[in-house]
Symmetry: C2
Subunit: 185 residues, 2 copies
Amino acid sequence: MEKEGRISCSSYEIGERADILDTKVRKDLSSFGQFGIAGRGYKIKNLKKKIEEIIGKDSIWKIAVIGVGNLGTALLKYPGFKEECCKIVLAFDSDPQKIGKIIDSVPIYDIESIEREIRKNNLKIGIIATPSEEAQNVVNRLIKSGIKALLNFAPVSLSVPDDIKIIDIDLTARLEALAYYLTHK
Amino acid sequence: MEKEGRISCSSYEIGERADILDTKVRKDLSSFGQFGIAGRGYKIKNLKKKIEEIIGKDSIWKIAVIGVGNLGTALLKYPGFKEECCKIVLAFDSDPQKIGKIIDSVPIYDIESIEREIRKNNLKIGIIATPSEEAQNVVNRLIKSGIKALLNFAPVSLSVPDDIKIIDIDLTARLEALAYYLTHK
Ligand SMILES: NC(=O)c1ccc[n+]([C@@H]2O[C@H](COP(=O)([O-])OP(=O)(O)OC[C@H]3O[C@@H](n4cnc5c(N)ncnc54)[C@H](O)[C@@H]3O)[C@@H](O)[C@H]2O)c1
Ligand SMILES: NC(=O)c1ccc[n+]([C@@H]2O[C@H](COP(=O)([O-])OP(=O)(O)OC[C@H]3O[C@@H](n4cnc5c(N)ncnc54)[C@H](O)[C@@H]3O)[C@@H](O)[C@H]2O)c1
C-alpha cells in the first residue's frame, strides 16, 4: 500500500489484502497498544514501523529449503524473500546430481548432513519441498535439529509436536475457493 | 479428516485446518441451510457431500497455467490437483524451447495464441507463474479472453476489474507469520 502512495488505510483494507477478517486485524493490532484512530483507520507509515517492531524485523530469520526440485528451485530464486524478514541460507537434497551445487548463492547440502548443518547455523525455520512420501521423515529430522517453524508445500498432513508451528500451502483449497466464487457469481 | 477415520468435527477444527476463523466457518456454512448439530459439530460425511454440492463438484473446472518455468513445471506435476475440483488442461509460455512440449499430458502453447485457445476451451480459471514484470500484461489478455478467476504467484499487486476474483499466493506473508510466532513464543 505504501508503494501505491497511500497515507492511511482501514482494518478492512488490511484484512482484504491479507485474506483475514477485519475484526481479527483490529483485535491483533490492538493487543500491541493503541495506534489506530477510531473511524479513520491507521497511518500506514506508523503501522509499517509498528509491524516491523512486532515481528522483530531487525533480526533476519535464516531459512533452510528441503528438496531442490522444480518447486525448491523456484523458491531459491524467489525475489519476494530478499527484502523482507527472511533469507534462505541453506538447501538440502538427496540427489547426488544436485548436492554441492549453488543456486542464487545458496549451497545445496546432502540431506544426510541435515542435523549438523541446521545446528551449526542455528536455523529455526524450514520449508518442505520434497515429495509427499518423504516429508514426514524430513520433518522429524528437522525438529530433532532444533527447527521450530515449518512452511509445508507437500500435499500431505504432517504430524508435529504442539510447540512446532506449521503452515500448509494448500493450493487445492485456494482453487476450490475460486471455483466456489465462480459457481455463486 | 475423513481419511483419518473421524466421524464428526467442530467448526473450530475446520477453521484450524483451513487457516480461517471458526466464526467465519459457522457463518459461511449456515448460509447453505442447517446441517450441523449445535454443540456437537458436523457429521463429516454429510459435510463433505454438502461442500461438494456447494462448489459444484460435479463439474470439473479446467485451468490454464501461464509461465512454465520452475514454478509452472511444479504446478503441472502437482498431484494435489488431480483428484479434486480442478484440472490443468493448458499451459502457455513465450520461450520457443518450451512451446510445443508436453508436461504430464498438458500441452504448452505459444503465449501469442492465448486468446484463441482460452476461448476455444471456454476456460474460466488461470494461474499466473510468469516473472512479475510480465504478469499484468498476461492478466489483461486473459481477462479479454473470458477468464474470470486468477491464482497469482508473481510477487506483484495486479489490478483487475471488480467482477474478476484474484487470490495472491504471498509467501512473504506466510513466512512473516512464522517469524511472528517464533518472536512471541
Ligand atoms: N502446494 C503447492 O503450491 C505445490 C505446488 C507444486 C508442487 N508441490 C509439492 O511440492 C513438492 C515438490 O514438488 P516438485 O515439483 O519440486 O518435485 P520434484 O520431484 O521436482 O522435486 C523434489 C526434490 O526433492 C528431492 N528429494 C527427494 N527425497 C528427498 C529427501 N528425503 N530429502 C531431501 N530431498 C529429497 C528430490 O531429489 C527432488 O530434487 C511435491 O510434494 C509437490 O507435490 C506443492
Ligand atoms: N508465491 C510463491 O509461492 C512463489 C514461489 C516461487 C516463485 N514465485 C514467482 O513465480 C514466478 C515464476 O517463478 P519461476 O522460478 O518459475 O521463474 P522462471 O523464470 O523459472 O519461469 C518463468 C517462465 O515464464 C515464462 N515467461 C516469461 N514471460 C512470459 C510471457 N509474457 N508469457 C508467458 N510466459 C512467459 C518464461 O519463459 C519462463 O518459462 C515469478 O514471478 C516468481 O517470483 C512465486
